[in-house]
């Protein structure tokens, strides 16, 4: 197997060179490398490195965005092959910014990082009602509900989501994760959510640990 080529995919993804990543993914497919290997050892490897650097403060939001864009474009090329081969994601999450809050950059970063861990993400957008999280989790069989809030005026909605999950009888089937400027671990415990993470890369690490436990 051409490990140099996979390394090239990873390195160029880290630099956000989407066009080149697509060319290299095509080259890897042409050389007969399995789509799953290209995904795991090329694209996800690169995104994992970016996530680690982001967590360590070595790269910043624009660098994460362009890397994630390169990953998505490469992954899009692999999608039909992965489906044909029956390769599954490691789990499914629904994610959104809670009702009353329209801020979405943090939520979008979490989405990118989750996808970088091989997790399927249903992005519910911003200003999402508690019922929508619950209904989506039930209908789409999500193992994770990820909640984002930027404002002190909206963080209380997170508690409503936890309560609605209990009322709907799915609380033991889903992990509820929270993040955003006004929340912390103490708030997470207070409202009965499962995890607070301080940044998008940590959110992806914790999400993966929940799904692979």
């Amino acid at each position: 197997m051409n490990t140099e080529l996979l390394k090239n995919i990873s390195e160029n993804l880290q630099k956000g060179r989407a066009k080149l990543v697509k060319e290299l993914v095509q080259q890897a497919l042409d050389e007969g490398i399995s789509p799953e290997t290209i995904l795991n050892e090329g694209l996800l490897d690169g995104m994992n490195i970016v996530g680690g650097k982001f967590k360590a403060g070595e790269v910043y939001v624009p660098e994460v965005l362009i890397a994630a864009r390169a990953m998505n474009q490469g992954a899009q090329m692999l999608k039909p092959y992965l489906e044909e081969a029956g390769v599954q994601s490691i789990g499914r999450a629904c994610l959104g910014t809670v009702q009353g809050d329209l801020h979405d950059i943090g939520k979008n970063l979490v989405k990118m990082m989750l996808e970088g861990k091989g997790i399927e993400v249903i992005d519910l957008g911003t200003d999402v009602a508690p019922e929508t999280f619950i209904n989506t989790a039930i209908e789409q069989d999500c193992q994770l509900i990820c909640l984002s809030a930027l404002l002190t005026t909206t963080m209380g909605v997170m508690e409503e989501v936890v309560k609605k999950a209990e009322e709907a009888g799915i609380r033991d089937k889903v992990k509820i994760m929270i993040g955003g400027a006004p929340v912390d671990d103490a708030f997470c415990k207070k409202i009965g959510a499962d995890a607070y993470t301080p940044d998008a890369a940590s959110a992806a690490d914790v999400a993966k640990s929940f799904l692979t436990a």
Binding site: G16, G57, V59, Y60, V61, P62, E63, L65, I66, R69, L102, H103, D104, I105, G106, N108, T126, T152, T153, G156, A181, P182, D184, P198, D199
Partner: protein, 333 residues
């Protein structure tokens, strides 16, 4: 000592005679006022009526508009109103509204007598080199633009700087505000949104065009950025910036550590708003945390963003009392 003199003293690292200024640097959330109205607060008060009603010092802020009232709005919150060079060209007739500035300058002129008499300090705000392109390109596209459209980014900042210099000339022909802020919001819970390299390539040249002129007039130059701005302070200092606000505790900002690292830098804010949701005792402990820094000068303590709606009105009154109590302790011992 007048209200204005008190403020000037702190900005110059001098001790006011009586206490530190007691101000809210930002207006209150609508939700907070609404909650307070249910607790006996009079409805319908404007900012300049709310502050004295609550026992706070008066100040005037002017945020100069950077686009006119007819400017297209984004289709959704944080969306773009121009996506590329061509879109920006089409938007130009709506941007940099000199006529609107003239109207504001005339209003400021009407305040000059009261400002001269020391009734209140005046500060003004400009859209900064991070903030303004974001309002044009949209939150996410703006972050991509550092890599995708660097020429456009530079062009926007060149135009912005020219407009702001025209605005400043008009302003300084009338009076000299005590301080100003560049609205930026370029940091978040985990620090800066952009790298130092990006800051140097894009924002530093922009600041270098504006900041020296403002400082020449004696107005203190402060950057307004939510989140954890700590790591950016050395970058900002290289750009001639003299202070930051609001120093969000929840984002991990440690104002005491910042004071130690930057003894000559101005701070406004730093009071952890989350304590206002808890108890009177939590607020007192928060003031105790801030007191040593309050004593060093160059620091106007204030809520580190806006008072949350679940802070009862009665507790807010106690907050104002404590703000003045600790403001006296900082000065008088």
């Amino acid at each position: 000592m007048t209200n204005r003199e008190r403020f000037q003293a702190v900005l110059n690292f001098e001790k006011p005679d009586d206490r530190l200024p007691a101000v809210e640097w930002a207006s209150w959330w609508g939700d907070t006022i609404q909650a307070w109205v249910g607790q006996g607060f009079p409805a319908g008060l404007g900012f300049h009526e709310i502050a004295p009603y609550l026992g706070l010092d008066q100040h005037y802020q002017f945020w100069f508009p950077h686009r006119n009232a007819d400017c297209p709005q984004p289709a959704s919150f944080g969306g773009p109103i121009a996506e590329d060079e061509e879109g920006y060209e089409q938007l130009l007739p709506y941007l940099y509204p000199d006529k609107d500035i003239d109207g504001i300058i005339e209003f400021i002129r009407t305040l000059k007598g009261r400002h001269d008499a020391g009734e209140f300090p005046i500060w003004f705000s400009l859209d900064g080199g991070f903030w303004f392109p974001r309002t044009i390109l949209g939150i996410e596209n703006h972050l991509y633009s550092f890599y995708d459209q660097p020429e456009l980014y530079h062009r926007i900042l060149d135009d912005l700087a020219e407009f702001q210099m025209r605005t400043l000339e008009k302003l300084y022909s009338v009076l000299t505000p005590e301080f100003m802020t560049f609205g930026e919001d370029m940091s978040y819970n985990n620090g800066p949104m952009i790298s130092e390299d990006s800051f140097d390539e894009f924002l530093l040249p922009y600041y270098n065009k504006i900041v020296p002129y403002i400082r020449e007039h004696g107005t203190k130059v402060i950057v307004d950025s939510d989140g954890d701005i700590s790591k950016m302070i050395p970058w900002l200092k290289r750009a001639g910036i003299q202070g930051v606000l609001p120093l969000e505790r929840k984002a991990g900002v440690d104002v005491a550590a910042l004071r130690e690292a930057h003894p000559d830098f101005l701070f406004i804010g730093a009071f952890d708003k989350m304590t206002m949701r808890e108890s009177d005792e939590a607020m007192r402990q928060e003031f105790e945390r801030l007191l040593p820094v309050m004593k060093t000068g160059g620091f106007v303590p204030s809520v580190d963003h806006q008072t949350p709606p679940d802070c009862p009105l009665e507790r807010y009154h106690k907050y104002v009392d404590m703000l003045k109590e600790y403001g006296r302790k900082a000065v008088l011992g």
